[in-house]
Symmetry: C2
Subunit: 293 residues, 2 copies
């Protein structure tokens, strides 16, 4: 028998709401550890590259991470006319920082990640995603993002909340107090992007998070993208600002002329992402604002 | 212990390319049979309603079937200025016929399904999807779609190929001869829609099918939608015609004024669906035509 035939058939499988499961074939475990916050694992999958899991939930895979990271970074940074300072909350794998730092306008990015074990595991085992963590324009702070924004006196053009689900360490990142503090850090044209879960499965979380954001932002929109690694495939980000419009204030020429080579994002996808399925816009009516498409 | 705790934890799990798996919790088996073509099962899931599987592959679930069926029907039928005659190949569950027949302009729909067992199982166990199979405007023919289009002399405004994957009974529905026959049946403004698999996982199938369509159609486009029940979430349809443009020839007013209550489709989604991720448009460059967005 060949090596292949001798190999144990290993799968890592995540279940969601006890009704759906998503599994990936695993070839090897690259890292396993328990941090003060969560179980952290990096595995080598068959077909999806290296994959990070926190508490058994898939965070990122090399095969499709470009979608999430391009969409969290480029939608706000090509809407803001001149983004120079960016704050990332979470994002320990480094993928969001990588995409932010591809913007030449960005002079300073601050990333606040609570779990150093995630950062170190990704630095060692997923360099294709984490390599930008070495960029001199990035200040990496290992701290609680909630406490950080409470103390912070700096002003940012974009705050990107690259969080896990609202259970465990990320729970306070979905609270009113946190959003109020973020809104205080934003400049006049500042944008807050927040990971806003599955439009199919997580309506209740979305209602709660957009309600909590509402008092502090003039406009709240939502946009979607497709992942391979989150249950339901379709996923979403909230786009909150003092009134900047992700369509009218978006200059597609600036995106095309940037020279940044994209795998998912392009000016057409930027606009299309704000077109919401009928059940989504009806379900979130009053909580998010319509976008002129 | 309660009934719930006593219940066996049953899941139906489909693997794709031996690298990813998608599972659904099952409460009950409603139907199981072996037709001359395939194994046919209908199960009651926890959280996704009734679900049809052919050869263990999920075809449709009550929870998200509206996405697929609205997108296969309404994108062509709101692009064509006055669709009266529609041919459906496959679609044994009846969902595509249901959406087609919501168009008042449609006078006659012909549906050619090879597997009567699928039709009967869905009629009995998934009436929410199959109920339109009783509509007097629908002619249901149990026959091989490939042979049917070879013999057919009728002209249609839209031909919707609601097929399974290109393995098993649906394989010839991806061949040149079949596409040539379909093109012969289309009127001047006729549109062929074809189920075109996962943009993430099935590039090779897409290349082959669009290459096979190319000689018989002036324009070939692709559009995407999000499902819960197919691996990868993001899924696609091909849009082939003699030059009708799904954006320029689309009248959003006609869609809004139709009075058809939609769960996924709306005019914004119609246009947004043709915006393709960068890796998709690059990968299929030359095989599909760009759309002015």
């Amino acid at each position: 028998m060949s090596d292949k035939e001798n190999k144990l058939d290993l799968w890592v499988t995540e279940t969601h709401q006890d009704i759906v499961s998503l599994g990936f074939k695993v070839e090897d475990t690259l890292f396993s550890g328990a941090s003060p916050y969560q179980q952290v694992d990096v595995v080598k999958t068959a077909g999806h590259g290296a994959m990070l899991l926190n508490d058994g939930i898939v965070m990122v895979s090399e095969r499709d991470e470009f979608v999430y990271h391009e969409m969290i970074a480029h939608v706000p940074l090509f809407t803001h006319p001149n983004p120079k300072r960016v704050l990332i909350i979470g994002g320990g794998d480094g993928g969001t920082a990588r995409e932010v730092l591809r913007h030449e306008t960005v002079e300073r990015a601050v990333m606040v990640e609570i779990d150093e074990m995630v950062v170190n595991a990704c630095k060692k085992h997923i360099p294709s995603i984490s390599h930008a963590l070495e960029d001199p324009r990035l200040k990496l702070i290992v701290d609680d993002g909630v406490k950080y924004v409470d103390r912070c006196q700096e002003t940012f053009d974009a705050v990107l909340i690259d969080s896990t689900d609202p259970i465990g360490p990320a729970q306070p990142l979905f609270d009113k107090t946190f959003y109020e503090n973020v809104s205080r850090l934003l400049g006049e044209k500042g944008i807050m992007i927040s990971q806003s879960e599955s439009p199919f499965y997580d309506r209740q979380i979305q209602e709660s998070m957009f309600s909590n954001q509402r008092p502090f932002f003039e406009k709240i929109h939502m946009y979607t993208f497709s992942t391979l690694t989150y249950p339901g495939g379709l996923w979403s980000f909230g786009f909150a600002s003092r009134g900047l419009c992700p369509i009218k204030d978006f200059d597609p020429q600036r995106a095309s002329a940037s020279g940044i080579a994209m795998q998912y994002y392009n000016p057409e996808i930027h606009r299309a992402a704000f077109a919401l399925p009928a059940f989504v816009s009806r379900g979130l009516s009053g909580l998010i604002d319509p976008v002129p498409l």
